[in-house]
Amino acid sequence: MRRPNIIEKDIASVTTLGNLTNVFESLASTQVAKVKNKAQLSQEFFDLLWSCYTSIRVDPKTRITARDDYGNGRTVLVLISAEAGLSGDLDMRLVETMQQNYNPATTDIVVLGSHGASQLSQRGIPYARFFQVPETDSYVNVEPVIEAIIDYSTIIVYYEEYLSLGQQEIRSLDLVMHMKAMSQDAEEGIITAADTIFEPSLNEIADQMEVTMMSLALSQTILQSGLAQAASRFNAMTTAEKRAGEMTSGYTLEFHRSKRGESDRRLREVLVGIKKKRRERSEKEGTL
């Protein structure tokens, strides 16, 4: 059995760890609330703008994403991961899901977030480009990412979706197909050049909006991933705190056992000493 002073040191370490995870848990909880609010606001904005985009009536064949010669014939997989760790196994699941559709001969990978990049490196999967997750406090600037992926024929975004605090799922979105499908959905409030002034021109605006909507769709997935990561971090910290609590209880029990064992041992030693002394005394008295 370990000595009580050693166990006591372990208890102190695990208690500190428990306190730290508690702080991280609180931070993650605040982050969840903050990002959730932003994701909701941004979703309203996106829906409103999307309805505006889909109400523009132009010949679908002229759209960038509908052209027969669209893209370079290759596929790009865009991975939206976290900038840092401590978010459980979410990024690992993201990479594993992506791997199922990865063919190095026809596919390139673009990764957002250092954690995803390190997960790919650990598996020996090369990636064509790396970007830090764009700042999400006021404006999600995805322009550099869009520039890097716009020439690909197929753009599949892998992201993490927040379903609830306890459940986050890995999702994928074919950006070009999504754009094609959504632009054919408008049923009401169609705007045409017959009743509306377009500056500089309808086709130019439609082209520009198409790229803008693609950027916004990507921004939405980044926000969703941010929310899912915050929730996953919260869960990971809750589990770690619980585990630290269990370890502290285990160590405390061991400490008390060890301490009792030590006092029992001392008592035994004292008794043995007394017996020895008595024996020595009786032997002395016997010889006299």
């Binding site: 904005f45 505006c52 006021s138 404006y139 002034i197 377009f198 500056e199 500089p200 605006i205």
Partner: protein
């Protein structure tokens, strides 16, 4: 001097913020062709904004927004401003 009639209803928002939602007498902004104003009775209109300041004239202080880019639609005196898209 009498105040200009507030016949426009303007909603100006960014992905994470609502700048203004209410009545206005005019909206000034700029697109690739140049600066423009939207007044009550403006024809239905749709344009992409360039970087610059958007000004919304209200009964109180004008609301100004610094925009990196944006989109504006006008339909039946309803002005929708999407800023920083």
């Amino acid at each position: 001097m009498s105040e200009a009639p507030l016949d426009l209803h303007v909603i100006a928002r960014a992905p994470f913020a609502l700048y203004y939602d209410g009545a206005a007498s005019a909206v000034s902004a700029a697109n690739r062709i140049g600066p423009f104003d939207i007044l009550p009775g403006h024809a239905d209109f749709l344009t992409m904004l360039t970087a610059g300041t958007i000004t919304i004239e209200t009964n109180n202080e004008p609301v100004t927004i610094d925009a990196k880019n944006g989109l504006v639609t006008v339909r039946d005196n309803e002005v929708l401003l999407f800023v920083n898209i």
